[in-house]
C-alpha cells in the first residue's frame, strides 16, 4: 500500500494485490450530509454514469466500455456517520490477460467522466437531466416495493433525532423533484473543488504508471474536516409505529441506542456481542427464535458503529407478534445477564476472525478497509490490533456492551395472520 498526495485533500492510494484477475479503481467524494445537497449528489451520480461530452449517447458510452473488454463504470451513494459519499467505480480485466492497455484507457475514461460532463451553457444537458431525474424518481418509488427496505426506512425515521441523519443516502422523491439542471451543475463544480477525495487503485498494477496517469487530473487543493461519527442522546420514550400492509409476512424491526463507535475501547466487544446475539447462525436469536421456536425464517442483528445505531430485524407471522417480540427481548436480556457460555464466546471470536480474513478475498472489501484507514487513521485497526483486541474481549466486556443497548424505536409492518 502506498499513498500519494495529488492535492491538499486529494489522495491516491495504490494497493498492489496480485491474486485478482481484475483491477478496481474507486474514487470517493465526501462531505457532511446536508438536505440541501443530497438530491444533487444522487442526480450527479446518475448523470456521470450515463453520458458525457465525449460519449454523448448511452450507446456510445456502453460501446466504449465493451471495447475495453467489458470494463464497468458504476456510481453509488452511501453514508458513513455524518458523511455522505459519492463513489465512482471502474472495474476492468488486468491488461496481461487481454494484451490491451485496459489500465490507461479506463483511467482516461474516468478523467473524461469527471472533467468533461455533458454541459450546455453552464447547465447539465437538460434533456438527459430530465430523463435521469424521472428514472430516479421511479427507482425511489419502486424501492418501497422491497418490504425490508421500506421497514428499515421507517425504523430509521423513528430512531434518528437528526433529520439529515434520518435521510436515506439515495435521497427522497421530494429532494430529487426540486432540482434543476443549472443548480445541479453549479453544485457539481463545487463538489469537484471542495469535497474530500480519495482515489483507490487495487490490483496487479505498475504503481509508477498509475501515479503518472492520475497526475494530470485537474484536482485543486481543498480543506477538509473529518467529522465522521454521529451520535445522539438517549431518549426516555420508545418511538413505536405499527402499520397494516397487504403482505404475507410481517416485519418487526427494533432500533437500539449504541454508545460504541468504531475504534473505541469497546469496539471489539461490540463485535462479539453482536455475533452472539444475532450476527451468526449460532447466535441466540437464530438458535432460539428461528430454530427452537420456528417463529422466523430471517432474523438477525446488525450495527452501524459510525452512527451509533443497533438493529434487530425479524420476518414473522402477524399472529406471533407478542411471542416473537418477547423471545427477542429475552435473548438480549440473557446477554445482559451474562447468560452465555465461554464456548459460545470462543466460537463467535473464531467466526469473526474468519470473516475478517475471508473478506480480504474480495477487491471491494479491501478498498473498504483502506477507506476507513484514510478516514480515521488514528482509530484504524490493523490486522494485528484487530486480532489481539479480539482475543482480549472478556465475558464482562460483552455483558457491559449489551447492557448499554437501549431500545429507542420499534416498527412493525403487520400483514396477514396465518396463525399457528
Amino acid at each position: 500500500m502506498a499513498e500519494y498526495k495529488i492535492a491538499d485533500g486529494v489522495r491516491l492510494h495504490v494497493i498492489n494485490e496480485t491474486k485478482f484477475k481484475t483491477v478496481r479503481v474507486m474514487v470517493r467524494f465526501r462531505e457532511k450530509i446536508s438536505e440541501k445537497n443530497l438530491g444533487k449528489r444522487v442526480i450527479i451520480s446518475n448523470m456521470l454514469e450515463t453520458t458525457n461530452a465525449v460519449y454523448t449517447t448511452g450507446g456510445d458510452f456502453s460501446r466504449k466500455l465493451s471495447s475495453l473488454f467489458g470494463a464497468t463504470f458504476t456510481t453509488g451513494v452511501s453514508k458513513k456517520g455524518n458523511q455522505h459519499i459519492l463513489s465512482i467505480n471502474m472495474n476492468f480485466v488486468n491488461p496481461k490477460f487481454v494484451n490491451f492497455d485496459t489500465l490507461g484507457e479506463a483511467i482516461s475514461f474516468l478523467k473524461t467522466a469527471f472533467f468533461e460532463p455533458d454541459v450546455v451553457e453552464n447547465s447539465f444537458n437538460p434533456t438527459i437531466f430530465k430523463r435521469e431525474q424521472t428514472n430516479l424518481i421511479h427507482y425511489l418509488e419502486s424501492m418501497n416495493d422491497d418490504r425490508a427496505y421500506y421497514a428499515s426506512r421507517k425504523l430509521a425515521n423513528l430512531f434518528f433525532e437528526d433529520k439529515e441523519q434520518a435521510l436515506p443516502s439515495v435521497g427522497t422523491v421530494e429532494l430529487i423533484e426540486r432540482e434543476t439542471p443549472e443548480a445541479v451543475f453549479d453544485y457539481y463544480q463545487k463538489l469537484l473543488k471542495n469535497n474530500a477525495t480519495d482515489i483507490f487503485v487495487l490490483g496487479d498494477v505498475d504503481e509508477k504508471r498509475v501515479v503518472e496517469l492520475f497526475s494530470d487530473f485537474e484536482f485543486t487543493d481543498r480543506t477538509t474536516v473529518s467529522d465522521v461519527f454521529y451520535s445522539q442522546v438517549l431518549t426516555e420514550n420508545v418511538s413505536v409505529l405499527t402499520e397494516k400492509k397487504e403482505t404475507a409476512q410481517s416485519l418487526l424491526q427494533l432500533g437500539y441506542h449504541l454508545g460504541v463507535h468504531y475504534g473505541d475501547a469497546d469496539y471489539m466487544a461490540l463485535q462479539v456481542m453482536n455475533g452472539l446475539l444475532g450476527g451468526f447462525a449460532h447466535s441466540k436469536l437464530f438458535a432460539n427464535v428461528r430454530e427452537k421456536a420456528s417463529l422466523a425464517y430471517s432474523i438477525s442483528s446488525t450495527f452501524d458503529s459510525f452512527s451509533g445505531f443497533f438493529k434487530i430485524s425479524a420476518g414473522i407471522d402477524a399472529a406471533n407478534f407478542d411471542r416473537a417480540k418477547q423471545l427477542i427481548f429475552d435473548q438480549l436480556l440473557a446477554l445482559q445477564k451474562g447468560n452465555f457460555t465461554s464456548h459460545e464466546m470462543e466460537q463467535t471470536k473464531t467466526m469473526l476472525r474468519n470473516t475478517y480474513f475471508v473478506s480480504k478475498d474480495s477487491p471491494s472489501n479491501n478498498i473498504e478497509l483502506e477507506f476507513v484507514k484514510a478516514l480515521i487513521p488514528e482509530r484504524f485497526l490493523s490486522t494485528d490490533s484487530f486480532l489481539s483486541s479480539l482475543t482480549e474481549v472478556s465475558k464482562d466486556d460483552v455483558r457491559r456492551v449489551a447492557s448499554h443497548l437501549t431500545l429507542q424505536a420499534e416498527y412493525f409492518m403487520e400483514g396477514e395472520a396465518l396463525g399457528n
Binding site: 448511452g58 466500455l65 465493451s66 421511479h138 449460532h282 425464517y297 420476518g315 467466526m351 400483514g415
Partner: protein
C-alpha cells in the same frame, strides 16, 4: 486423478471420479484466504415424480420436497450441523434450484475438517416426524417472504404461465399445504434415490495442499459403504400448452412486465454443441437488446425502459427459455417493440459482425472478472450439463461463435418458440 492446465487463465484443475461414483474437482488457489467447498446433488424442485430406489412404480411426492430435505439435512441427533461448522470457524449454507441442491462451507481455518464435515453431514440423514414438523414453521416464513417480493412474483408468475401443469409452475419451496404433507418417510425415500455419490459432485477451491486434500476426500469416501450404482428413473418433463397472456395486481409503484419465450426446438446432443447453443442464444439477445444496441438506447430515451430492464436465457436438458423483464409505464408498447425486434432480427442493424465482435470482447473480459469469485466458479461446475467440457473451456468455445452460428440457432428457436406475456399492475 486428472490434471489440466488452462493456459488462458493460468488455472490448474484437478478432477477425479471415485470408485463410488462421486465426481470431485479441486481448484487450488494459493493466494486466497478462504477455502470454499460445494457439494451438489442432481436433484431439484422438478424431481417430484420418479421411481424410488428399490421400487418399481413411479411415485409423486409433494412439491417443495427437495428444498425441505435441504433444510432437514442440517439437523442431526446431536444438534444442528451449523454449530459444528461454527465451532470450526466456518460458515455454511445450502440452496435448491429446479434441478440441483447444493451444500457449502467457506472457511479460512480447518479446511480439511470442514470438508470432512460437509461430506459426513450430507451423507448421513436423520429425519424424525418431530423434527420434520418443526421445520414446517420456518419454511412457511420463507415462502411468505418470497410472496412479498414483487420481482420473484413476476418470475414465478411468468414461469407458471409458460409451463402450466408442470413442476416449473410450482414454487421451489412448495406451498404451505404441500410442505405440511411431507413426512419423514418421504424424505428418506427421496434421499436414498438422489443422494447416491454417483448422482453428486464435490468442488473444492482454496489454498489447501492438493495431495493432502485428495487423500482426505478419498479416505473419507472409502470408509463409507454405499449401495450399488443404479440409474435414476425420473418422469420426463411435461407441461401443458402455455397461456399467452396474464396479469396480476399487487402493491407496486410501477407496472412490471415480463416476456417469456418458451423454447420448443430440439437442443443439440453433443456437449460442445450444447454449450455453443447456449452462448449463441445469450449473445442473440444481447445483440438485439443489450446496452450496446441501438434499440436499448431508443427504448431508454423514450422512457419505455430504464436500468431495471434485463434479459436471460436459461437452458436445462428438459427445457429452455428466454425471459425479458422491465419496470415500465407502458407494458403494451414495450411488448410490441420487443416482439417486433424478435421477428425482424435478420434485417436489424445491431445483428452484425461488428456488434458481435464487440460483445465477444466484453464477454471475454466478464469471464476473467468472474474468476475472482470462488463461489461463482464453484457454482458453474455444480450446474454442469456439458459432461466433458467445463467453465474453463469457455474462452475457446467463445472464439468459435460466428454470426452464422447465431443465426442458425436463432432461426430454429424463434420459429418454434411460444410467446407468453405476464404483467404485474399496481393496485
Amino acid at each position: 486423478m486428472e490434471t489440466k492446465f488452462y493456459e488462458k487463465t493460468g488455472e490448474t484443475l484437478f478432477s477425479d471420479v471415485l470408485s463410488n461414483g462421486l465426481t470431485v474437482y479441486y481448484l487450488p488457489k494459493a493466494d486466497y484466504n478462504r477455502t470454499y467447498g460445494l457439494f451438489t446433488t442432481n436433484f431439484g424442485s422438478l424431481d417430484t415424480t420418479f421411481i424410488p430406489r428399490g421400487a418399481t412404480e413411479f411415485q409423486t411426492f409433494p412439491e417443495g420436497i427437495a428444498h425441505f430435505l435441504e433444510h432437514k439435512l442440517f439437523e442431526k441427533e446431536d444438534g444442528d450441523v451449523m454449530y459444528k461448522f461454527g465451532a470450526l470457524g466456518a460458515q455454511t449454507n445450502a440452496f435448491t434450484s429446479f434441478s440441483r441442491t447444493s451444500y457449502l462451507f467457506s472457511t479460512r481455518e480447518n479446511s480439511y475438517e470442514c470438508t470432512q464435515l460437509l461430506l459426513d453431514f450430507v451423507q448421513k440423514p436423520y429425519f424424525t416426524e418431530e423434527n420434520v414438523h418443526k421445520e414446517q414453521g420456518i419454511i412457511q416464513q420463507e415462502i411468505q417472504m418470497y410472496q412479498d417480493d414483487s420481482d420473484f412474483r413476476l418470475f414465478a408468475g411468468l414461469l407458471a404461465k409458460m409451463y402450466p401443469e408442470s413442476p416449473l409452475a410450482a414454487d421451489i419451496a412448495g406451498t404451505p399445504a404441500t410442505i405440511n404433507a411431507i413426512t419423514s418417510e418421504d424424505l428418506y425415500q427421496n434421499y436414498e434415490t438422489f443422494y447416491h455419490p454417483s448422482n453428486m459432485n464435490l468442488f473444492l477451491t482454496g489454498p489447501f495442499d492438493i495431495d493432502k486434500m485428495a487423500d482426505f476426500v478419498k479416505n473419507n469416501q472409502e470408509n463409507k459403504t454405499f449401495v450399488k450404482i443404479e440409474e435414476i428413473k425420473r418422469q420426463p418433463f411435461q407441461a401443458e400448452n402455455p397461456r399467452s397472456f396474464d396479469q396480476l395486481e399487487l402493491e407496486v409503484a410501477m407496472p412490471k412486465f415480463a416476456l417469456g419465450l418458451r423454447g420448443e426446438d430440439e437442443i443439440p446432443k453433443s456437449s460442445k454443441e450444447l454449450l455453443i447453443y447456449k452462448l449463441s442464444n445469450q449473445i442473440f439477445l444481447d445483440l438485439l437488446f443489450g446496452r450496446t444496441s441501438e434499440r436499448y438506447e431508443k427504448l431508454y430515451n423514450v422512457g419505455l425502459i430504464d436500468d431495471s430492464f434485463g434479459f436471460s436465457f436459461d437452458l436445462e436438458k428438459q427445457f429452455h427459455f428466454s425471459i425479458l423483464t422491465a419496470d415500465t409505464e407502458n407494458p403494451e408498447k414495450l411488448s410490441q417493440a420487443l416482439q417486433e425486434a424478435l421477428k425482424s432480427y435478420k434485417i436489424d442493424k445491431d445483428f452484425s459482425v461488428e456488434h458481435l465482435d464487440l460483445l465477444k470482447r466484453e464477454m471475454l473480459g466478464d469471464y476473467f472478472s468472474s474468476l475472482n469469485s470462488l463461489e461463482y466458479i464453484a457454482n458453474q461446475f455444480a450446474s454442469e450439463i456439458y459432461d466433458d467440457l467445463n467453465f474453463f473451456d469457455l474462452p475457446e468455445i467463445l472464439e468459435k461463435i460466428t454470426l452464422d452460428v447465431i443465426e442458425k440457432y436463432a432461426e430454429k428457436f424463434i420459429n418454434e418458440m411460444k410467446l407468453v406475456e405476464f404483467t404485474i399492475l399496481p393496485k
